[in-house]
């Protein structure tokens, strides 16, 4: 703290501390805490707020266990997000390895730019592109029928499959960059040495590349899973009433059910899910928080 004061002087230090406190307290920490507090209270009309009925309860959390539909949606959100994460990891791994270790240096800037450009394009627009592709009279159905795989167009929108396909496309770039960054720092000579000593490509990846890229794999998986589990745009556009996502259930509690306390409980459950996933990844890849939050 003394260092801060010495460097910036009293006026500037006060301004800095005030700004940081305002940000972290008013915009980050207190809202989260209040949301949690809110989730343990019953939903009451304003006249009864802070009255005798306003006591802490677990009722909002019990709802998820008693409501079979919501529970099924919650479980689907977990496995579908895991599937999205696994598929993006499998698709991105070879690309990241090529970019980080194999690609000729002079070709790299263009390749990176080709990844950066779609990364910058709005999530919603990239989802919308798949809405057109998957539409009943869209190009994918035309192709499937044209190839003779189906005799008539299929319903591709409004189901879980469409949502998962869309999510893989929309979140794939959040996987490729962390992988690439982690693999870049691997000395190419290590791979050469392993090859000279007779290791096959499978062993090289298992014993050298993957252990080195662990933090990148963990970060990529965490980002992808969090974005998938917390996605609203993709299921809203590509899904339907039969393929609701947990975020849509939360939204309905707030703006259709009018039960904010219930919605806050579901939101907190979603947050716990994401934190649990982060901890799982840290355990699985044996990486610390400092490796992740870089």
């Amino acid at each position: 703290m003394g260092g801060v004061l010495r460097r910036y002087g009293p006026v500037l230090t006060a301004a800095i501390l005030l700004a940081v406190a305002a940000w972290l307290l008013l915009l980050v920490v207190l809202p989260q805490l209040l949301m949690v507090d809110f989730s343990f209270r019953p939903s009451l009309p304003p006249s009864k707020a802070r009255g005798p009925e306003d006591v802490y309860t677990l009722r909002n959390y019990a709802t998820l266990w008693t409501n079979q539909i919501h529970l099924a949606i919650f479980l689907k959100t977990i496995w579908a997000s895991s599937l999205v994460t696994a598929v993006t990891l499998a698709v991105c791994y070879p690309v990241a390895f090529y970019m980080a270790q194999v690609a000729p240096r002079r070709r790299l800037p263009l390749l990176v730019l080709m990844l950066v450009v779609p990364f910058w394009i709005n999530e919603l627009l990239r989802t919308f592109a798949w809405y057109i592709i998957l539409a009943f009279n869209g190009p994918l159905n035309a192709l499937l029928v044209g190839l003779g795989l189906y005799s008539e167009p299929q319903r591709l929108l409004g189901g879980d499959a469409g949502v998962i396909i869309g999510m893989v496309y929309v979140y794939i770039l959040f996987m490729v960059f962390p992988l690439m960054n982690a693999m870049e720092s691997l000395d190419r000579n290590q791979i050469e040495a392993a090859r000279d000593l007779g290791a096959g490509w499978l062993r090289i990846h298992r014993r050298i590349v993957i252990p080195h890229a662990k933090p990148g794999i963990a970060v990529g998986c965490i980002m992808t899973f969090m974005l998938a589990a917390g996605s609203y745009a993709v299921p809203a556009l590509l899904g339907g009433p039969q393929s609701r996502w947990f975020t849509e259930v939360i939204y309905n509690w707030f703006f259709e059910g009018g039960n904010w306390n219930q919605g806050a409980a579901y939101a907190f459950i979603l947050l716990i899910l994401c934190i649990a996933f982060i901890l799982l990844m840290m355990r699985l890849f044996r990486v610390g928080l400092t490796d992740i939050a870089k």
Partner: protein, 269 residues
């Protein structure tokens, strides 16, 4: 064919497939803009038209949503960039467990799903201050995590900063205010520009957080999503095409500037 050429061929094919996968959907969406079908599609092709740009131009609600998005973006720049700057200045001078802890709290909004950022903001401001959803809350909710992006940008640039410059100025009798205005701030100007740019883009594209705190205001992404679900015409494609063109332009300019900056300032490490 030897094993090596086969592997190179396989790698090439995979890369072509991968980049095709990235760009083909965007190409299809763009192409559908010029199809004179009432529903956006490329099959069947009903003939070339530019009418959907006209339809978009005439859409009053689109202009209103665009105005809202620009306003929110400007607000987020005004809030998130100074907050991120202050946070980076503080972290840059801390070397202890306090730094690790503060850093973790600051980046935590980036690891929180956007819907939760929106919900917590909505609940907190209604309960404590009686503020309901609208422009103000949208700016605050977006800033809470966009400030973290700005902080990371500033921190990266501060790490290459030669602190002896400040010490020399202080030794020569400059006040703290003068040092900040004449040395620190000019050094950080490129980072302020890129942070503002990034903050605006993040704000403009945001959907998940905005959805919960927008109240009755409609930003452009909210407008597009509602159009896709009710009343979809290729005018939405025309809008998407324009936004994508602007994004590509912005991304290319940003990358060129970033690379030029990186060349001029080789990393000391």
């Amino acid at each position: 064919m030897t094993a090596a050429t086969f592997r190179r061929w396989l790698t090439g094919a995979y890369l072509v497939l991968f980049f095709g996968y990235l760009f083909l959907p965007l190409g299809i969406m763009a192409a559908a803009t010029f199809n004179s079908s009432r529903f956006p599609t490329i099959t069947p092709w009903m003939g070339f038209t530019l009418q959907w740009f006209g339809a978009l131009w005439a859409d009053q609600r689109m202009w209103q949503a665009l105005g809202t998005s620009l306003l929110v973006g400007a607000g987020v720049i005004a809030v998130a960039v100074p907050l991120g700057l202050a946070a980076a200045l503080l972290l840059d001078r801390l070397h202890s467990r306090a730094r690790t802890f503060l850093y973790a709290v600051m980046v935590s909004p980036l690891l929180t799903p956007g819907v939760i950022v929106g919900i917590s903001t909505l609940v907190f401001w209604r309960e404590w201050f009686g503020v309901t959803g609208g422009l103000f809350l949208t700016i605050l909710a977006q800033s809470s995590f966009i400030a973290a992006y700005a902080m990371l940008l500033f921190l990266a640039r501060l790490q290459r900063f030669d602190q002896t410059l400040e010490e020399a100025a202080l030794d020569l009798g400059a006040t703290h205010g003068q040092v900040f205005r004449r040395i620190t701030l000019p050094y950080l100007t490129p980072a302020i520009l890129s942070a503002s740019f990034l903050a605006f883009l993040q704000s403009f594209e945001n959907y998940n957080t905005t959805l919960f705190v927008r109240g009755l205001d409609t930003t452009l992404t909210v407008y597009i999503a509602s159009k896709v679900r009710t009343g979809l015409t290729p005018a939405v494609n025309a809008l998407s095409l324009i936004l994508i063109a602007l994004t590509i332009l912005g991304a290319v300019v940003y990358e060129i500037l970033r690379r030029r900056e990186a060349r001029r300032q080789p990393d000391p490490a």
